[in-house]
Amino acid sequence: MNEYVLSIATLIAIYAILSVSLSLLVGHTGIFSMAHAALFGVGAYTYAVLTVQFGWAPGPALVVALLLAALAGAVMAVPSLRVSGDYFLVASFALQVVAGSVFENWTSVTGGTGGIPGIERPAMGPLDFGDSGAFLGLAVVVALLVAAVSLWLVRSPYGRMLHVVRDDEVVAATLGKPVRFAKVSVTVLAGAFAGLAGVLYAQYLLYLSPGTFEVATSVSIITMVVLGGMTSVVGAVIGAAVIVLIPQGLRQLDIASSAAGPLEQVFFGLLLILLMFVRPQGLLGGSRRRPTRSTDAVGDAAEGKAVHAA
C-alpha cells in the first residue's frame, strides 16, 4: 500500500471513532449534539499542548487529554439535563462556537490561527508509530476497540436504559431509571472517545489548526452518523468511510482548488437532503421505520411541549 492509501485509511479509522461515539449520543440517547468537533478538539489540543509546549511523555498526555475531553462531555451534559430537542441543539451549537473561539483566540496556549506544529508520534517498544503502516495499525486497533465497547454497551442493560431515556424521558423517570446518570455518563464516555480520536488525529497530522474543529466538522460527523443509520455501530463506521472518501474522489476530478472545497460541501448537503427523502433511517438503519423516535429526538420532546404550553 502506498502512503496515500495508508493516510486515507488512517483518517477513516479516526473518523469512525468520532462517528461511533456520536451515534451513542444521537442514536442511542437522543441527545442531538452539534458540538462533537469541540470534544474532538479538546482531546487533540490537550495532547498537542502537553507534548509540544510542556514536553510531556505521550502516555500521561493521552490520559489528561481523555480526562479533559470527558470533562468537556460532562459540561455538555449540563444543558441536556434541562432542555432537549431544538433547545439542546442551540445549546450544543453555542458550546461548539465557544470551543472554536477558544481554540482560535487563546493564542498563548493553542497558537491561535497558526496552530501547533511539531507534534511527534510515539514509539512503543519495538513499534515505531512514525511508520505510516504501524500508525494505521494503531488507529484501526483503537477504532475497533471503541466500536467493540460501544456495541457491547448498547446491547447491555445500560444500553437498554439509554434507549428508554431516548424514547420517552418521562416514562424512563417513572420507571425509576436514573435519567440524569444515563445522560451524564453517556456524554462523558462519548467525550472520552472523541478525545481519543483527537489524540490520534494530532499524532496523525503532526500539526493542529483550529479550522479542523469548527462547526463544519461537527456537521460532517453528524452526516456520517445519519448516513450510517443512527443506531448502527457498523453503519457509523461505513458512514465515516463514505464521508472521508467522497472528497478524495472529487479530488480526482479536474476542479480548481478554490472551488473544490465548497463543491465538496455542496455534495454533502445534497447527500443529506437526498438521504432524508429516500432513506431517513440511514444505510444500515434497518427497514422498520421509527417515526416516533425521529420526531421525539428534536421538536416534540417533553421539554419542548412544556415550554410551548407555558
Partner: protein
C-alpha cells in the same frame, strides 16, 4: 462614559441585525415548529444576490430584487422541501437535517463562484457618510438599518394584529387545525410566514454585504445568536424576540469594555448556556416569576 454611549449606539446596530433575523425566525418557528436553520442561508442569499445583481442593475433595484429573490428562496424551501418531507412523515430531526443540508448547499454554491473573497456590496458613498449624534456618531448606513429594523418590526406587529391574514397566522400558531376548521388552506399560512420571515432576514443580509461583505459561515453565526434571542424572548413572542435580540446586540458591544472583540460572542454564548440551564423557559419567564413572587 463617552465610549459607553458609542458602544450602546453600535450595539443598537448589531441588535437591529439580530432582531431582523430573530423576528423572522420567531414568526416561522411559532407557526410551523420547523427548526429552519436554512434561514441562515436566506440571510446570506440576500447579501449575495444583491452583490451579484449590482453587476446588472443600479443599487436600489438590485437590493429590491435581491430581497425578492430571497423571499422566493425561503418560500421554495418550505414548498419544495419541508412540505413534501412532512407529507412523507418526516418531522423534527429529519426536517432539521434537510434544512441543514439546504443551508450547506446554498451557502457553498455562492462560495464556489467567489472563492474566499467576501462579497462586498457597493452601496454608494452615502452609506459611509458620518452622522453625528451629539458627541457620538454612526454612519448613514447604520442609521438606515436601525430605522428599517424598527419600521419592519412595527409593520409586522401591525400586520399580525390588524389584518385578516395576520390574525389567521396567529390562530395557526396557536392551533394549526383551527385554520382548516375555518376553511382556509394551511399552505397559505406557511407561504405567508416564510415569505415575511425571509424578507426580514434578507434585509439584514443585504446590510451585512454592504457593511463587511458576505462570507460563508457568517449566516450561521447571525442565525444562532438570533435563535438564542428567540429562546430568551420566549418562543412564540415576536416582541420578546425583538427585545432580546436588541439586548444581545447591546450586551455584545458593551462587553468590549472588559474584553477583546474576539471574545464577546463567546461570552454571550456562555451566558446563554448558563441562562438556558437556570431557566429553560427563557428570560421572559424569569421576570414573570419575579413579578409574581413580589406581588
Amino acid at each position: 462614559m463617552d465610549l459607553f454611549v458609542q458602544l450602546l449606539l453600535n450595539g443598537l446596530v448589531a441588535g437591529s441585525l439580530y432582531a431582523l433575523v430573530a423576528v423572522g425566525f420567531a414568526l416561522i418557528f411559532a407557526a410551523t415548529r420547523h427548526f429552519h436553520i436554512a434561514h441562515a442561508a436566506v440571510f446570506a442569499a440576500g447579501g449575495y444576490f444583491a452583490y451579484f445583481l449590482t453587476d446588472f442593475l443600479p443599487v436600489g433595484p438590485a437590493v429590491a430584487a435581491a430581497v425578492l429573490l430571497s423571499v422566493v428562496l425561503g418560500v421554495a424551501l418550505v414548498t419544495l422541501l419541508y412540505r413534501p418531507l412532512e407529507r412523507r412523515g418526516g418531522a423534527g430531526f429529519v426536517l432539521f437535517l434537510v434544512s441543514l443540508g439546504a443551508l450547506i448547499v446554498i451557502d457553498n454554491v455562492f462560495t464556489v463562484g467567489l472563492g474566499a473573497q467576501p462579497a462586498r456590496l457597493a452601496a454608494g458613498s452615502w452609506f459611509t457618510t458620518t452622522v453625528a449624534i451629539g458627541e457620538w456618531s454612526l454612519i448613514a448606513g447604520q442609521v438606515a438599518l436601525i430605522v428599517v429594523a424598527f419600521l419592519l418590526f412595527g409593520g409586522l406587529v401591525t400586520l399580525l394584529a390588524k389584518t385578516r391574514m395576520g390574525k389567521l397566522v396567529q390562530a395557526f400558531s396557536a392551533n394549526p387545525e383551527f385554520v382548516e376548521i375555518v376553511g382556509r388552506k394551511p399552505q397559505v399560512v406557511l407561504v405567508v410566514v416564510y415569505a415575511l420571515g425571509s424578507l426580514l432576514a434578507a434585509v439584514a443580509g443585504v446590510y451585512v454585504a454592504a457593511d463587511t461583505g458576505m462570507q460563508p459561515g457568517l449566516g450561521e453565526t447571525f442565525f444562532i445568536v438570533s435563535v438564542m434571542a428567540v429562546i430568551i424572548g420566549g418562543i412564540g413572542s415576536i416582541t420578546g424576540s425583538f427585545v432580546a435580540a436588541m439586548l444581545l446586540g447591546l450586551l455584545q458591544n458593551v462587553l468590549l469594555l472588559v474584553m477583546g472583540a474576539e471574545w464577546t460572542l463567546a461570552a454571550i454564548f456562555v451566558l446563554f448556556l448558563v441562562l438556558i440551564t437556570v431557566s429553560p423557559e427563557g428570560l421572559a419567564k424569569i421576570n414573570f416569576r419575579r413579578v409574581k413572587a413580589s406581588a
